[in-house]
């Protein structure tokens, strides 16, 4: 399972049941990353994608997509699939995660839902910065076990 998540400076992800922020350039980066792969997400996350952004990527939308991940992991059929998570508790899936693609807004937002995975169990293998549409600088880091 390859996890995609976005956080602010304090590892915040959501506030008052709403994502902290969004950016079309970040979505473009995600879709480029997932070309020829399956991208799982729930309906809330899917709602931020524009129609014209969804080409060339196989997006699977399901509310229980993490459970599906569990099943697929056992069957070893979706090892390379990506799971874009905004509002799901990730702690219980920690053992299934082989790779984390962590985007950072590089700013502070209010938060009441946080990214709780301890990254010290992973190794940072790559990092890059890119300008967003509405964000000055977005960081993309890839961690692997």
């Amino acid at each position: 399972m390859k996890l995609i998540a976005i956080t602010d400076d304090h590892k915040g992800m959501m506030f008052n049941h709403r994502r902290q922020s969004k950016d079309q350039m970040l979505r473009k980066e995600i879709l480029n990353l997932c070309k020829s792969k399956t991208l799982y997400m729930n309906a809330y996350t899917y709602s931020q994608f524009e129609e014209n952004e969804k080409n060339n990527v196989k997006i699977h939308v399901a509310e229980s997509f993490l459970s599906a991940c569990d099943k697929h992991s056992k069957e070893k059929t979706e090892e390379d699939a990506y799971y874009f998570v905004e509002n799901e508790n990730l702690a219980e899936w920690l053992n299934r995660i082989s790779e984390i693609v962590l985007f950072q807004w590089n700013t502070r937002y209010p938060a009441d839902f946080y990214f709780t995975i301890d990254l010290s169990e992973f190794q940072l293998v790559s990092a890059k910065d890119f300008p967003g549409n509405s964000h000055h600088n977005i960081t993309m880091e890839i961690y692997k076990r």
Binding site: D8, K11, M14, F15, N16, H17, R18, Q20, S21, K22, D23, Q24, N42, A43, Y44, S47, E63, N87, E88, N89, W105, T107, R108, Y109, P110, A111, D112, F113, Y114, T116, D118, L119, S120, N133, S134, H135
Partner: protein, 430 residues
């Protein structure tokens, strides 16, 4: 037989008469009952304020939308620092500085003092410019480590009349004590700044003092704190938009919300109703905090929706809200850059009793309090892991495993870090 028949008719007439009286009485009571229902939700201040109109139907619709949003996020198990402290409040014991003469401002134009001058819109009487009376300091919890607390379950007090995609800005006139009141704007690209912020040092908001502490980020205890942030509305030295706010209020309390609104507007080109209300306790010159409300217009709050009270406090500093006087918490030795300051501060600052005259004497100079002279019992050296939010003894076996980018060597009162969410390591039990 005839007599019996007339008795029956008389009995039937009596029954109808009694039923009629009952229905008539019930119809008289009905509006009274409805009126009582409304006064449960609207304070007397609002009822007496002709310009304030509360449309409960709007709030209902927001709640419905929020419920829909919840349906899509049913698996959230959030770490809610404020969940247990949401508040529905509706008393009126505090002062929210407002002015009846304030004009609702539409369509930005030119201004002689550069602070923004606007033409009144046609619906100014309908615009809900103040949540006065909706929030009572007595109903808000004392500061407990979080820079803000959710109010009214994060649902702002806007009304149906507020929903517009027309740009506007509103800044209350200063009250008789020189204090700011409500600031309200429809944040959109049209009013966002296109150039760097100008100087605002000429403004001395109520309770203003220029004072520095080493323990304060950026040193200065007080900032000239925009009600409507510069990044949202481009207001510079507008005295009706600047209050005396602690660095903590400015950076930890308000800035994250301002960032969220600014980035949302930049990304979507939508509008966000945005209102900030400083709340003063009685005649205090320093606000106890600010109420921040926001709701995105085009998506009816799906993108941005919050209602929070941000505390105007500074951890480690004792503040006298009557006049802004302040001192370091704990057993400290203070030193002064200007000896002339010492007498006035000893008379007021340390005792917390100084009046306005004392404030005026302290304004021209600055007070510098040396952190090295702070003596607090809890001060100690720890190693923090910013990733796990754990703090360790320096000799803890986990310390060498902490990534350099997550490691913070900390010397000071650990209670401050605990308030920021740090927990003791279970191995070394610091």
């Amino acid at each position: 037989m005839k007599e019996k028949k007339s008795n029956v008719i008389g009995w039937i007439v009596s029954v109808f008469f009694i039923l009629g009286v009952i229905f008539f009485t019930a119809s008289l009571n009905l509006p009274k009952s409805t009126e009582q229902h409304h006064t449960d939700h609207i304070s007397m201040d609002q009822i007496q304020n002709d310009s304030f109109k509360l449309e409960s139907s709007n709030q209902d619709s927001i709640e419905v939308d929020a419920a829909k949003e919840n349906e899509t996020t049913t698996n959230i198990e959030s770490v809610r620092e404020n969940q247990s402290t949401d508040h529905n409040v509706a008393t009126d014991s505090e002062t929210i500085a407002t002015s009846d003469s304030d004009a609702y401002q539409m369509s930005k134009g030119e201004d002689s003092n550069g602070s923004g001058n606007y033409n009144s819109g046609s619906n100014e009487n309908a615009m809900n410019t103040s949540p006065a009376g909706m929030v009572s300091l007595s109903d808000l919890p004392a500061y407990n480590g979080s820079s803000y607390v959710a109010v009214n379950q994060n649902i702002p007090f806007f009304t149906d009349y507020d929903n517009t995609t027309q740009a506007f800005e509103y800044y209350s006139e200063l009250d008789s004590l020189g204090r700011c009141g409500v600031a309200y704007a429809n944040i959109c690209r049209e009013i966002m700044p296109t150039e760097e912020r100008g100087k605002i040092g000429s403004v001395k908001p109520s309770g203003w003092q220029s004072v520095r502490y080493d323990i304060v980020d950026g040193a200065y205890l007080y900032n000239r704190c925009h009600l409507i942030a510069y990044q949202l509305a481009g207001e510079n030295a507008n005295e009706r938009n600047l209050i005396t706010g602690t660095r903590y209020l400015n950076v930890e309390g308000m800035l994250p919300f301002e960032n969220m609104v600014a980035d949302y507007v930049k990304e979507t080109n939508h509008h966000v109703l945005y209102r900030v209300t400083p709340i003063f306790d009685g005649n205090n010159l320093l606000a106890s905090g600010v109420l921040m409300e926001a709701k995105s217009v085009e998506d009816n709050g799906a993108g941005i929706l919050f209602n929070v009270f941000c505390y105007n406090i500074q951890p480690g500093i004792i503040i006298n809200y009557q006049n802004g006087d302040n001192s370091l918490a704990g057993n400290v030795v203070m030193s002064y850059e200007n000896e002339n300051m010492q007498s006035s501060l000893q008379a007021g600052g340390q005792s917390g009793q100084s009046g306005n005259q004392g404030n005026q004497q302290t304004q021209p100079a600055e007070v510098y309090i040396q952190q090295t002279e702070v003596q607090t019992a809890a001060a100690y050296t720890y190693v923090l892991n910013s990733n796990t939010k754990k703090y360790h003894r320096p000799d803890c076996s986990s310390v060498p495993t902490i990534s350099p980018k997550n490691r913070i060597d900390f010397n000071g009162d650990i209670n401050e870090m605990i308030r920021q969410g740090y927990q003791p390591c279970k191995k070394c039990n610091p």
